[in-house]
């Protein structure tokens, strides 16, 4: 009978540190765990006692990749707590910068972290040597999305111009028109991206789960809306805990979540399955080219759903710029604290999935309580459920191949285990 022992310490090409442990004895799965060994982070504690208008700047440093997503969820939580209404112009600019970050994060994941698996190389470095045109294309898209973010939020990495109730800096019409030209010109790179993904041998693996994302009536939801699941549940944002139901697991320093089943999935594939109808026609065409129509139940295809979202976000950014140029950009008064606190929940569907921030603010404008639930935590239980389903299907393969497929599976979720310090370790020669 088959014995398999997979032990991957410090899974590579994911954010932070996670271990994969699989133990099969006599053909029977004895152990199958994704162990999270990162020290838990203490953002909630760091927020306590801080003025409300610092929260978005602090939380934007949680992650160097999802900085805008955290800042946005933070602002929405604060605005909901304080009863701040935001203008149509602010909503449009926020959607625009959010699209920039979705493109930015997805292109890094698809090209630099996932693609090397399909080219049979260990990382993007040999890929850059063997297929420079592929990596340079990724960099072009990345530069575009970075410049889009900087145009709206004032910075390439951590947004500075977004504030409670609006923006402290506004892009000019000529800047937006120049950006639109570049977005239109990017279509060729996007077509090449989809063409590349068409050629990749995606692993065959089906396991249906519950897919959870934001949902809105009028658009493919990234900011605000309700929480919707493919099992037919809908919740107002204030009821987010009814979805997340966090629990602690002994093998993980991160909490697990569950809703209607043993696990649920968040991220690009969940959004695709929930909100496919609202994708831009070009994104739907990309999905068709990749043979994807909901429900897609192969978790490996989360990376393909990300590429489809890149197309959607580029197209929708063009639309938003057109609307902003038509309306004209005006300076708007910024929010002033009214001396009355409250509690609020903010939610955004960031690159890796649905994110919740929940703040309690006192009448002095100081944060008294905060809760942040990040997408990767919500995916852990589903990753393990996928691992348990996949292992028995691939037991006939060599151990090395099994290990590689498990790593690819976890990477497909684009997990952000920790945005830890990146201290440079130097040895002089």
């Amino acid at each position: 009978m088959t014995n398999v022992n997979v032990n991957v310490h410090h899974l590579t090409r994911v954010e932070g540190h996670g271990n994969i442990v699989v133990d099969v004895k006599n053909g029977e799965l004895v152990k199958c765990e994704l162990q999270i060994v990162e020290a838990p982070r203490f953002f909630e504690a760091m927020l306590r006692g801080r003025p409300y208008d610092e929260a978005s700047h602090i939380t934007s440093r949680i992650c160097g990749i999802c900085a805008t997503g955290h800042a946005m969820a933070s602002l929405r939580a604060t605005e909901n707590a304080l009863g701040v209404e935001i203008s149509e112009q602010t909503k449009l600019l926020r959607k625009l910068v959010f699209h920039g970050e979705i493109i930015d994060s997805h292109v890094l994941h698809v090209y630099m972290l996932v693609a090397p698996d399909f080219f049979g190389v260990g990382s993007v470095l040999p890929l850059a040597a063997s297929h420079p045109e592929v990596v340079l294309r990724a960099l072009r898209i990345k530069k575009l999305s970075g410049d889009l973010c900087a145009m709206v939020s004032g910075r390439h990495t951590h947004p500075i111009a977004m504030t409670v109730g609006g923006f402290t800096h506004l892009p000019s019409i000529p800047e937006m028109l120049a950006m639109k030209e570049r977005l239109v010109a990017a279509r060729e790179d996007l077509d090449e991206t989809i063409a590349l993904l068409q050629t990749l041998p995606w692993p065959q693996f089906e396991r249906e789960t519950e897919y959870v994302s934001l949902k809105k009536d009028d658009e493919y939801a990234f900011i605000d809306g309700v929480v919707a699941t493919t099992d037919g549940f809908t919740y107002e944002l204030d009821d987010y805990r009814k979805v997340t139901n966090e629990t602690c697991k002994p093998h993980s320093t991160a909490k697990h979540t569950r809703h209607n089943r043993e696990s649920y999935m968040v991220g690009a594939l969940a959004r695709f399955n929930n909100n496919y109808e609202q994708l831009h026609p070009r994104a739907k065409a990309a999905a068709e080219a990749l043979g994807m129509k909901p429900p897609v139940t192969n978790s490996f295809l989360n990376s393909a759903a990300q590429a489809i979202e890149i197309v959607h976000c580029v197209q929708d950014s063009i639309r938003i710029i057109d609307e902003l140029v038509d309306r004209g950009i005006e300076e708007q008064a910024l929010y002033e604290f009214q001396g009355k606190g409250g509690e609020g929940v903010g939610s955004c569907d960031v690159p890796r999935g649905i994110l919740f921030h929940n703040y309690v603010i006192d009448d002095e404008g100081l944060i008294q309580g905060a809760n942040c639930i990040i997408p990767t935590n919500q995916n852990y239980a589903n990753m393990e459920a996928d691992m348990r389903a996949l292992v028995p299907q691939i037991l006939d393969q060599p151990q090395e191949k099994i290990t590689h497929l498990m790593e690819m599976l976890i990477r497909a979720y684009d997990p952000c285990i920790s945005c830890s310090t990146h201290l440079l370790n130097v040895e002089f020669v």
Binding site: V14, D104, V124, P132, K142, G146, T421, H422, L424
Partner: protein
């Protein structure tokens, strides 16, 4: 001299010199690069110099590095010195530890970004790194006293690297600090 270029400005050719401050300001001394970037951004710098707070953007930094003639990086680094001391070095003078097998978006950050830029042949001709020995890397939004104390001297050293006279940047030159190394 004009004010340092705002990051959001449209430019087809990026300014020739990029000064990149890296790190996470919520991780104690890891935020030293960001603090330097913030201080420099507030000063008047030549038009061909751009300062960016690169945070923990990791591999994404390559898109910012591309097209430059000169890259100056300020980052916390284990340079085997006392906390607060800093060293100026070039990639050729140092081996940045880690292996390709541990490549992630920002677990190793600068090293990977430089290697990728090199592999793509977009690494600027001139790369200079200011590595600052940290004392505290725990969750903390303040720098340690040792690193805080070296900031003025570090900023002056970076300005000297850019070949800018600190007195011309609109702020009083910082009191000279003993730099390590």
């Amino acid at each position: 001299m004009a004010r340092g270029r705002a990051e959001g400005k449209k430019h087809h050719l990026p300014p020739a010199t990029l000064v990149l401050g890296l790190g996470n300001p919520l991780r104690g001394d890891d935020g030293v690069g960001v603090r330097v970037a913030q201080a420099l951004a507030a000063r008047a710098l030549p038009d061909d110099v751009q300062v960016i707070d690169g945070g923990t953007h990791g591999l994404g930094l390559v898109a910012l590095i591309q097209g430059r003639q000169r890259l100056i990086v300020v980052d916390a680094a284990d340079v085997d010195r006392s906390p607060g001391e800093f060293l100026r070095f070039t990639p050729k003078e140092a081996r940045m530890l880690g292996t390709d097998q541990h490549l992630s978006i920002h677990a190793a950050g600068l090293r990977d970004a430089l290697l990728l830029a090199q592999a793509l042949k977009v690494l600027p001709d001139e790369v200079v790194i200011f590595g600052v020995q940290p004392d505290n890397l725990e969750w903390d939004s303040d720098l340690s006293p040792q690193v805080e104390a070296v900031l003025p001297g570090l900023i002056e050293a970076v300005l000297a690297e850019i070949a800018v006279n600190p007195a011309e940047t609109g702020e009083q030159p910082a009191t000279a600090q003993k730099a390590g190394g």
